[in-house]
Amino acid sequence: MAEMWINMGPQHPMTHGLWNLRVKVDGETIVDAEPEVGYLHRGIEKLCEGRTYPQIIPIADRLCYGSSMTWSHAYCLTVEDLMGVEVPERAEYIRVMTIEMQRIASHLMWLAAYAGDLGLSVGFTYTMRDREVFVDLLQGLTGSRLTYNYPRIGGVAHDLPPDFGRDAIRATRYMEKRLKEYEDLFEGSKIFMMRNVDVGVLSKEDAINLGVTGPSLRASGVDYDLRKDMPYSVYPEMDFRVATHSDCDCYARYRVRMDEMWESCRIIRQAIEKMPKGRWRVVAPRNAPVGTGVGRVEDPRGEAVMYVVGDGTDRPYRLKIRSPIFVTVSAAPKILVGYKLADVVAIMGGLDMCIGENDR
């Protein structure tokens, strides 16, 4: 068969969103690839310039439907850096707990999509069902299921409901049981291992050079986690380990995310046990000073950075959002070339695409 270009997208089951991956195949082997993004560009950065600082929190939520809490937290962290607001300790613990819950929910959604990509329907439905546990917890806390609008500049919106800590600890215990079952389900399957091991190898040097971050970077053997290496919030108080893997392939990416879920369960429990009493919010000033602020958090998908420029008014002069997936996608051609067409879904699924934050 002659070489031909195939448009995988914008309407394609592999894409999990609205983007286009053009692959050039020779028979079934990929010889070239070219991602095209921008189909979901909503102009959020421009939109934010016309909103006051608190009004941007719901917009930041909508950057990624899979990890909205992380994004609003990143935004609040950035603006607190700009305004110089000190957050009460209880609020920090609540934030850490909620973003770790969000991380588990996001990883579970990734696992569901990944299993669906590989044709493992059981994996899809079971992981989505167990994601409900954490989504329900966050719903009980914040009132919504997907875009929570919970962090505030200078704290969180409101205190924990009664018995929330007990429910959350119970949820993590349940989750750990289920994680064991998932490991049996996925790694016990010979076909799953055949589809993952030695597929989509991204070497350590390439991963660093191409700016890949997050679980994909750690799966390439780089031990770098912002929670550990550039700690923000109260992560220094937490006892957890950074999941890394040296195989650089899709299995390593899967393994790193599974390990992160284990660690997130531990962090949630520690946060609840160590949570002090006290205020959960301080009043932030209405106007930001002239200057800049930068905030970096470890998103479930990688390194999320926000850069805000204040001009003395109540609206940001400029808000720049660094989406981890935006840079990771640009590395896709490097990973894809040489593999089979069926590996595209494994590789792109293993990178955990989220087009909402990619196109902003």
């Binding site: 195939i6 089951p13 990509d117 590989l118 076909i191 799953f192 589809r195 089979k340 069926a342 595209v344």
Partner: protein
Amino acid sequence: MNLFEFCHGIIHWLVDLVNNVWYWLGDFLPWYFWEFFTAVGDFAASESHLTLMTILLETLIIIIVALINVLNFLWIFRKLSGRILDFYGPYYVGYRIGGWLQNLADGVKLFVKEIIVPAKADRLGYLLAPIIFVGSSLLILAVIPLSVDFGVATNASGEYVPAGAVFALAAFSIAPFAILLAGWSSNNKYTLIGGMRSAAQMMSYEIPLILSAASVFLLASSFNFVDIVDAQHDVWFCIPLFIGFVVFLVCLIAEVEIIPFDLPEAEAELVEGWTTEYGGMKFGLFYMTTAVRSYAGGALATALFLGGWQGPWFIPDEIWFLIKAYIVYTVFMWLTWSVPRIRIDQMLVFGWRRLLPLAVLNLVIAVAVKSWGWV
């Protein structure tokens, strides 16, 4: 009374009725038409014509029964998927019978849809592919008897089509051509790749399938389903030919294109594979025919390896046959939802390097078993 006698009686009665009307009509005409009328009436009443019509009626009945079973299969597929995948499955249409009517409702919906042919598609091939696919799959069903008495027999003593098993396997392997035709004529890259994959897959899994079936023919010394099932009176062939049985099941999964071997329509990478450009009832035919082939596969495995309609007396033979076919299909479904999809190169390697040697080994075992007379 077997199916042939039953159908022969109906046909005989019908022909007599029609002939009476025919001669009565002829009485109104002048005498020089009478010879023509008599010749036609005699031909209609002749035994060869009656046999032909009987076989057609038998085939119709067998296929209707089979299609009802296919509806059951689709229903089992949906309900079992629901049970395994943690959702309800159909339950609204036909509430009191567990949503059984949902497939009929879907069929009606598909029937009223417009027939759309893509502008740059090869129109003839595009429209011909579903017909070939459905026709070849229904051919399989026509030769598989559900019991000694319930099959398409050719005379009153219940003799079936000679070499019916070979005919079934041959009909089974027409489908790749239809799929390749569908993939090619749709003029779409995904369908083309799906068609190519399907051709490669079915060719490479056809050989172990037929080799493991050949071991059964060897043991039974016959190509006829009745003889094959009778030969399993003492021990089912799945016990001495266990390797062949497993190879046969694996190849069947590949032939009916369900996960883990549903590469030609792998929805994650090829949208819907070779069915991407098909809509309406053309897609409905493909969908139905997949279930038809699952039923045919289950029936073949039952007849060749699981003792066919043999079982304790308190359940009729036909029901025994269907129960076994259903169990085979259920095992297929169970497998389908428990494993991911395999990759095309891994699949071909698996077919040529694992299944084919195993099938040959199984053939050797069959020769040994036969020559020492263990079965």
